[in-house]
Point group: C2
Chain length 220, copies 2
């Protein structure tokens, strides 16, 4: 519109981002803040869960996971879903800067790819609160403790399969070169939500099986 657009650092170079404003925070600051905040959350949940009677170590670790996962879904991913113009911000805002940075590994974020927005929407609005409810459920052992974990983990897995597989099928370059962007941001940070939900799904599937087995034994 007559105004020069700033060139953006994302792949593909041809992508148009009207109003793009370059990053205002360093990679080190962003990673340290997200890593530090996550560590604080995990530490708090670990310490608090220590005062709940009868909780085993695996339960306490799962509470830490669901707290970290749920807050990431709601705060980080929720911000992305409801802030389509985060890449135009001219003043430093931590959450906007996180997505400017992460888009270097997956430019579908800054480019507002509909599939990514939908997956993130489901994750932020449904899986996120589901994770926080799971923290509570693991501590208090209601009847839906394992059902909830299984459903939330299945949804996370489904989302991650669509997330990775659409990139392979589209065959478009979305990631800047370099091991940090590809292996750490793209593969590792998303792979976490493949591996851990898969383990939780197996565990909760087994726990439900044992409940039914016990019911059948006692009613036989």
């Amino acid at each position: 519109m007559g105004v020069m657009e700033a060139a953006h650092p994302y792949m593909p170079v041809s992508m148009e981002l009207p109003g793009f404003h370059p990053a205002l925070m360093s990679q080190a600051f962003i990673l340290a803040t997200y890593g530090g905040a996550s560590a604080v959350v995990v530490l708090i949940v670990w310490l608090l869960s220590g005062s709940v009677a009868k909780l085993r170590t695996v339960d306490r670790l799962l509470m830490c996971w669901f707290a970290f996962s749920g807050l990431t879904h709601i705060i980080l991913e929720g911000y992305f879903v409801f802030t389509p113009d985060f890449f135009t911000f001219t003043k430093p805002h931590l959450l906007a800067e996180v997505w400017k940075e992460y888009s270097k590994a997956d430019s579908r974020y800054v480019g507002r790819d509909p599939t990514v927005v939908v997956i993130e929407g489901i994750t932020a609005v449904l899986a996120g609160p589901g994770c926080l409810l799971a923290v509570y459920a693991i501590a208090t052992k209601p009847v839906y403790e394992h059902t909830l974990q299984l459903v939330v983990s299945t949804a996370q897995l489904y989302g991650d399969i669509v997330y990775f597989a659409t990139v392979i099928l589209k065959g478009v370059e979305i990631c800047l070169p370099g091991p940090v962007y590809y292996w750490f941001y793209y593969i590792f940070m998303n792979g976490i939500w493949v591996v851990i939900p898969l383990l939780i799904s197996f565990r909760s599937w087994g726990a439900i099986n044992r409940a039914f087995a016990s019911t059948k034994k006692k009613s036989a």
Copy 2:
């Protein structure tokens, strides 16, 4: 490449479909065949399930649903996933004709939209066999009967949310005008896999809750 391409009937008109060959079977024939084959499947499962002792009517109806759903996933949707060139076929092939016809309601099929291919891939390869296993599980009552139904239904729901929501976000016209394409093919035929999985999820969630409640009561 020098050869004139046949014009295609899909939306948007600008979509390129190299090698497209027009439909070779009528809408009435395709719908009657799919409807008739589905009715035969439902009838067979209904009759066979009548000979299984202790099955309630709702169990028998669910077996019919999972048989119909699983065979649709594996045969129809599986064919789509693994036949990217179905729209170029010059000889009549029922499954290719089904997708030429359905693409009038959702041209992402003939256009091989990556998100649709991924969802259909998960549905055909994972949910389809899961549905057939559910038919067996409802009849034989293993400990995983309700867990399997819940996971399969959650996956179907997730897929359908992504399926519908990406269309809304993209804002691209994919459906021919007319109530049959939009309301019957697009809304109704996909809406089935929203409503029924939602009902099954609630039912199986409740059944698992009762199993845990019974376990806790008996161990108390």
